[in-house]
Symmetry: D2
């Protein structure tokens, strides 16, 4: 297997994304591209769009995995669009496709992706100060089974470096 | 539409279910049956099994919605088994099928079902003192959109009464 | 396990259902109820609705498993509604939940459910003369692996009797 | 939107793939790469593996969308692996992600993907002489709604050219 590392970025959707989170997501996307990794997102707005824009500006490759059955519903910064047609159950598809996860803000949907990644013991790094789920679960386990601690870093650069260093791929 | 109310019970799976949670779940299942509602669960062990046993002892009807594609993988207290074959993405199917949700303990999987129900603004009642997710999110919203508050009651009886009173069905 | 047999009825949706198929589906639903089995359908119109009406008139129990995330989208003849939210991928959920399948007419969606049931070697009986998929694949295998032959009968009564006699449940 | 065209190749799985189909799939993958399109497959063996090998030899980009929740289950010729965790319901994800579909042999699973693509009116081209589904449905519609005719060509080169010419993307 010679495939590149796949880093998933999750966080606020378009309906409640803050400027702080949007900017952090752009930087995270840019850094992922610089590291030569593939960016995976849920393919829609807010943090998903911002990270995709950053990765494109950094010359990276972006895969958007959307809930709808119509590829045209994705944001316009995707190199490839996976149209699942399974609604928000696609949160499992994004989570399972990640070698590592970066969390920027986020609400209930982000919490679902985070929990799904946790169940598979995938490395998760939150960007501190971006609000929502990213700040709520810092340095904690999701449940009493303590499968994988949610790590945190105070900058996009550090978060991406750490996430990539923790992947199982060589 | 003359269908009965469908109450979903979620919580600890078999691998980390406590005796307190198991007993509470049995009582919750029994109460749901007494109210003439249909019990829906994820069809496996722990809280899912306990609630199903209670509902059967109360003469109720139980539907287990399992991750596997083989109906034989369910617990033996189901009147009907829905074999989804979609893995833990079935957490969305249980959540969307609920007119109301009762939470008893629970870990990451429970948090996923809870978040999915929250996104649809389905009434959610936690049984206090059962640990895990049920105690962690009491009287809170899952995210800043404040779509639906997680309510709580200190007994199985009260939790079931309140959950059923909050359903939209007549 | 003391659960009842679960018989899935598949066929033409509302947009291209014939009167012949609708009438046959009603009779099939009625017979399933008389045999004391649970009727499972995709929960929408056409053959799904007709079979559900028949089963209700026969005093049976009907579970509708719909593509949408909103239970209100089902037809009004369901005793329980499973809202999957996974779109037409729910064709796998209906197929996997069946102890036996009855086919009445049907197009591409019916062919998907049929193929999914075939892959699990679930007994399948087509009602002859109802058109579409039911007449196209009679007494054939879906593919060269010959996992399970599509059987056929020339009346709803015989189709139901045969389907139920072929289930693995006692 | 500047994304490349996404061509899905479907057909026999590893358990019943013929040499004729395997060779045709390799050529199809090679041609897709030459046209600068992205190859999408179900990520496993047989036709999926052969097409992926061809695309890699042609310098193309391959995305494998697998049923499992573990990326390691894919074949080793993928540039990116989407691990859905939803079992064979992933047949809808592959179908919905396609701008065009090429069919090479194939059994029940192939028929499901074909039917899902048909429901969305996605262009479908079968490679003649490769057996199974590819030869069975040539120049036909899947059902009476006649949404999209299954086209055919007698060589991998022609099939790829035609499929790509029929996509809606510019």
């Amino acid at each position: 297997m010679t495939r590149k590392k796949q880093v998933l970025v999750i966080g606020f959707g378009k309906d409640h994304c803050t400027e702080v989170a949007y900017d952090a997501a752009y930087q995270v996307g840019l850094e992922i591209a610089k590291h030569g990794a593939i960016l995976i997102t849920g393919g829609l707005g807010g943090v998903m769009e911002a990270a995709s824009r950053g990765a494109k500006d950094g010359g990276g490759f972006v895969i958007g995995i959307i809930p709808q059955d119509d590829k045209e519903m994705s944001n316009t910064y995707c190199d490839a669009v996976i149209a699942t047609g399974i609604g928000f159950a696609r949160d499992f598809v994004t989570a399972y496709s990640a070698d590592a996860v970066i969390v920027i803000g986020g609400g209930a949907g982000t919490l679902i992706e985070l929990s799904a990644a946790y169940q598979r013991k995938t490395p998760i790094v939150a960007v501190k100060g971006t609000g929502g789920v990213a700040d709520r679960f810092v340095d904690e386990y999701i449940d009493d089974r303590e499968l994988e601690k949610i790590l945190s870093e105070d900058s996009p650069e550090k978060a991406v470096s750490r996430a990539i260093s923790l992947t199982n791929l060589e």
